[in-house]
Structure formats: C-alpha cells, structure tokens
C-alpha cells in the first residue's frame, strides 16, 4: 500500500473536559495519529483511556484544546460537526442514538443519503430511491427490508444498529467512525452485524476507525490495530505484524497498562 499522505492526521492533540475551569482534565494528551486512505483500524484500550473522546474530537463534538487536526493537510480543528459531516460518518454504541425514532426506515436512509449536503425545499423523493433502499436493507439479512415503512422506534436493537450502519455508508464517507457499534447487541446479532460491517468495509475499501471491547474482533478485523491509554496511542501495528499478533500479546499489553 502506498502510504505517503495521510487522509487525517492528529498532531499533538489535547482535548479537555470542563475546559477553562478548575476541574479541567485532559482526556487526550498530545495524541499523535495518522490515518491513511484504506486503513481499517481497530481501536482498543481500557475504560477511560479516551477512545470515545478520540472519536468525539475527530467528529467535532468535543473541541480540539490544542494541537492540529489535519484533513488532507488542512487544519480543520475549528470546524464544527455539521461541516465535518461532509466527509465523516459515524455509528454510535447506543442503538437509540443513530436513528430518528419517529421516522421510518426509508425516511432515515433518505436523510442519511444527503449527509453533509444543504437541505432545500426540494421534495424528498422517497419513491425514486425505494429500490436502492430495498436492495441495501436486504443485504443485511435481518428482516430490515420488510420494514422500510416502520418507525425505527419499533425495530429491534440489532435492526436499528444495522440501519445506523447503512445510514453511515449510504453516502460514501471518507472516514467511517464505529464506536463499539455491536456492543449493545446479543452475541449472535453482534457477530452477524460485525460480518456485514467487515464485508462492506473491505468491498468498498472504506477508511474506518472501529472501537471495540472484544479483543477477538480487534485481532480478526482490520489491517491495523492501535491501543489507547491515558489519552495517548501506546501501541500501533499494521499489515503482517498485525496478522501475527495474538490474544496473549494483547493481554500482556493490557497487564502492562494496569
């Protein structure tokens, strides 16, 4: 893989909770990370290591305290969530967070198809895209395709997360952020969604960062693995080296942390 210019690079990024107050704490501590096009990076680390903060900082929901966030070399640290949504899409851990509960599956997909675009007084054109929505939802093999006109609050957790995932990729994102998107699901549903996730990412050569608590998933999927601890990247392997990595190696890494 030619890896000269990163898609996104974080240079000495610091992110605070309670900024400018006595309770100010750094959740990201001069973190450096370069993300290259086509990278599928699994992110692991103990609780409170700053994994979700890392995602929130990249997506723009937590401000960059100091340091630089470079998108194709341009500093986007000051840009907000709305602006960054033009190239970033996201799936949250909580199934309730990723979809609009009172809107139907088709309406949600339709909203996501326009991610980052300006919304005008043009009619939404739901019928025209119905075939596409049918095809996409059918690919998830979980009954979602029969529920295009059902409000998402009436879906199962697995169906909601599958929908959130489809919404994140229906318009190709330059960078896909998956924040433990299968963690709230039962083991079988979780494994199923993980397989679909992997298939879509590899087939479409998406660039992706995926937080996970399951070491097996972190080892099995992706071409690169990073460990986050105390707001810093403490371990970063890719390619052949990652393939050789075992669960024992990871457990050893974790015991060093603790």
């Amino acid at each position: 893989m030619v890896q000269n210019k990163p898609l996104l690079s974080l240079k000495e990024v610091v992110a605070y909770v309670n900024p400018n107050t006595p309770a100010q704490t750094a959740l990201l501590n001069q973190l450096n990370l370069e993300i290259f096009e086509g990278d599928f990076i699994t992110v692991i680390g103990p609780n409170g290591a700053g994994k979700s903060t890392l995602f929130n900082t990249i997506a723009g929901s937590i401000p960059v305290g100091s340091g630089q966030l470079l998108h194709h070399g341009r500093n986007i640290a000051k840009e907000n969530v709305v602006k960054r949504s033009q190239f970033i899409s996201r799936v949250f851990q909580d199934p309730k967070m990723g979809t609009a509960p009172r809107m139907t599956v088709a309406e949600n997909l339709n909203l996501a198809a326009k991610r980052g675009d300006s919304r005008t007084l043009k009619l939404r054109g739901l019928k025209k895209k119905r075939q596409l929505f049918k095809k996409l939802t059918a690919s998830m093999n979980n009954g979602l395709a029969d529920k295009l006109d059902v409000a998402t609050e009436n879906l199962s957790g697995g169906q909601r997360q599958a929908l959130s995932f489809l919404m994140a990729i229906i318009k190709r994102p330059e960078l896909l952020l998956l924040d433990e998107h299968t963690a709230a699901l039962d083991p079988k549903t979780s494994a199923q969604l993980m397989e679909q996730t992997n298939r879509n990412i590899t087939e479409q050569k998406l660039t992706c960062l995926m937080i996970t608590h399951r070491m097996d998933d972190a080892l099995k999927y992706g071409n690169r693995l990073v460990v986050l601890d105390k707001g810093k990247i403490t371990f970063d392997v890719s390619g052949e080296q990652k393939k050789k990595l075992t669960k024992e190696d990871l457990l050893a890494l974790f015991s060093e942390i603790e």
Binding site: A59, V81, S85, R90, P101, R102
Partner: protein, 301 residues
C-alpha cells in the same frame, strides 16, 4: 343551531394556533411560551395597521412577520444564548406585553367601522356565523396543506429529524440550531397571523387577549390525539383542527351547564389536564381493556 355553527367557526379560526404550536410542541419537542406574547402581538399589529389605513390582507401578513420576528428572538436566546427554552419563551412573552402597548398606543383598539378580511360582499351574504366558518376553513386548509407539503421536502425532513434526534441530525450535517430557529419563526408567525384573524373577527385587539392561549392551542392538539389515536404525521396535523372544533363543543356544553365566560380559563385548564391524564386514567380504570374488548366483539361481527 347557530351556537353550533358559531362553535365550528371559532374552532376553525383557532385551529391555526394548534397547528402552529404542533410544530414546536410535537415536532421540536418543547413547549414554547412565546405564543402567549405573539398572539396579541399579531392582533395588535394587524389592528393598528388596519386603523392606519393598511389593507386587511397586508395587515395580516404584517402580523405574521412580527410574530416570526418574536420567534426569531426566542430562537436566538435559546440556541445561541443557551437560555432554557421555557425561560426564553417567557422572556419574549413578557417583552411583548410592552411592545403590544406601544403598537396599539393603549390597552385596546376597536375596529369599529373599519374594513377587515370579513368585510366582503360574498361573506356578508352568508347567514350569521358562516363568515367565520368560511374564512376559518380557507385559512386552515391553506396552512395545513402548506405545512404538509413543507414537511415532505428535504428541509422539512431535516426539521423533523432535529426534533426527533438532534445528535443524529447534527452528525448528518443538519444545522439543528437553524432548524430550531426556523421552527420557532414559522410557528410564531402563524400564531401572530391567527391573532390577526381572530382580532378582525372579534372587531378589536386587547393586550390581555394572549392569556391562556398556550392552553387552548395545546388542548386542540391533545384532544385530537386522544380522540383519533395512532395516526401518521400528516393525519395528526388534520386531527388538530378537528380537536380544535371538539374543544369548542366541550366549552359550549360546559357553558350550557351554567358556567360563565369568566370561568373559561379555569375550564380550559381542567379540560386539558383531564385529556393529558387520560392515558393514565384509562389504565387505572381499565378502560383500555373495555375498549379493546368492545373493538374485538365489534370486529368479530
């Protein structure tokens, strides 16, 4: 008979307030107190404009504008000023009291002898109270149709998503602040317009005419929901109008029972409270069970 026609006319005229409040209360999911100020603001604007010789239709359009402007202020206080929505609404509502006095130059103005939207040859030929039925019907059909159409646009869908799940909407690139401000402006604009029509129907504007407006508007929304149950979004908008008419019928019945018009605000509050508690009450009294049983028997016939 004329009482019933009058109630239908009032129900149709006041329905626009319910539909307007639906945008904030049901779609954006918050109670907007601004309406208690924008209703008399619209009335004051229209009546003052008409008494200065402005055409009634233009005066009504001006009422929409002033209402929308007040909604803009509430929206800015809430989204940019980070003032809680309830308080932001109360602040603007209170400020409107002074502004309304300024606009009218006194506590009330009469439209006696002035042209209004109701001074029309065709309307004057109709039997008593049918003028408000006709005008009310035209307004509510136009407003409801326009809103239904708007909610089917890309912008309208982004607006609904903002109320449904702001975090998701934001992550899809929807500027939720702008959507909230837009909702408050359109809602309060319509409330102002409603105030203008009702003032023209009454023949005067009064600074105190805003008191209890939010309860009346909420009552039409809630009664519509309680009576018609599970509906699509578009159907729910239509149900608000029917709820508004039903609310007038309930008032009519209560007044027939011997209450005076001075009791209206108390009665409105009681009716709304009962409707809001209805799901709880029906569960308590086992009404759900009885109704579903009745429906099952009816269905099996």
């Amino acid at each position: 008979m004329s009482m019933i026609v009058s109630s239908i006319g009032q129900g149709l005229l006041w329905a626009v307030l319910g539909v307007a409040l639906f945008l904030t209360f049901r779609i954006l999911n918050f109670p907007d107190m601004t309406v208690e100020g924008t209703f008399p603001l619209g009335a004051a604007t229209a009546v003052a404009a008409i008494s200065h010789g402005v055409s009634p239709l233009l005066a009504t359009a001006l009422a929409f504008l002033t209402g929308a402007l007040a909604g803009l202020v509430t929206g800015l206080l809430y989204t940019k000023g980070k003032i809680p929505i309830l308080l932001a609404g109360i602040l603007v509502m209170t400020a409107c009291l002074s502004i309304n006095l300024r606009i009218m130059g006194g506590a009330n103005i009469s439209l006696l002898g002035k042209q209004t939207v109701f001074s029309n040859h065709f309307l004057e030929l109709l039997p008593k109270y049918f003028d408000s039925v006709t005008v009310g019907l035209i307004i509510i059909v136009v407003v409801t149709a326009a809103l239904i159409l708007f909610l089917q646009t890309e912008l309208g869908q982004a607006f609904i998503a903002t109320g449904d799940n702001p975090i998701m909407a934001n992550s899809l690139g929807i500027n939720t602040d702008n959507m909230t401000i837009m909702g408050l402006m359109v809602s309060n604009g319509l409330i102002g317009m409603g105030g203008a029509f009702i003032a023209q129907n009454n023949g005067y504007a009064d600074v105190n005419m805003g008191i209890g407006i939010i309860v009346i508007a909420l009552a039409s929304i809630i009664i519509g929901e309680v009576v018609f149950g599970e509906l699509t979004l578009n159907q729910r908008l239509v149900a608000v109008t029917l709820g508004s008419i039903l609310y007038r019928f309930v008032l009519l019945i209560v007044l027939q029972l011997g209450f005076s018009t001075n009791d209206l605000n108390l009665l409105s509050a009681v009716i709304l409270a009962i409707c809001l508690m209805l799901p709880k009450l029906s569960a308590l009294l086992g009404l759900d069970h009885i109704i579903s049983k009745g429906a099952a028997i009816h269905g099996s016939k």
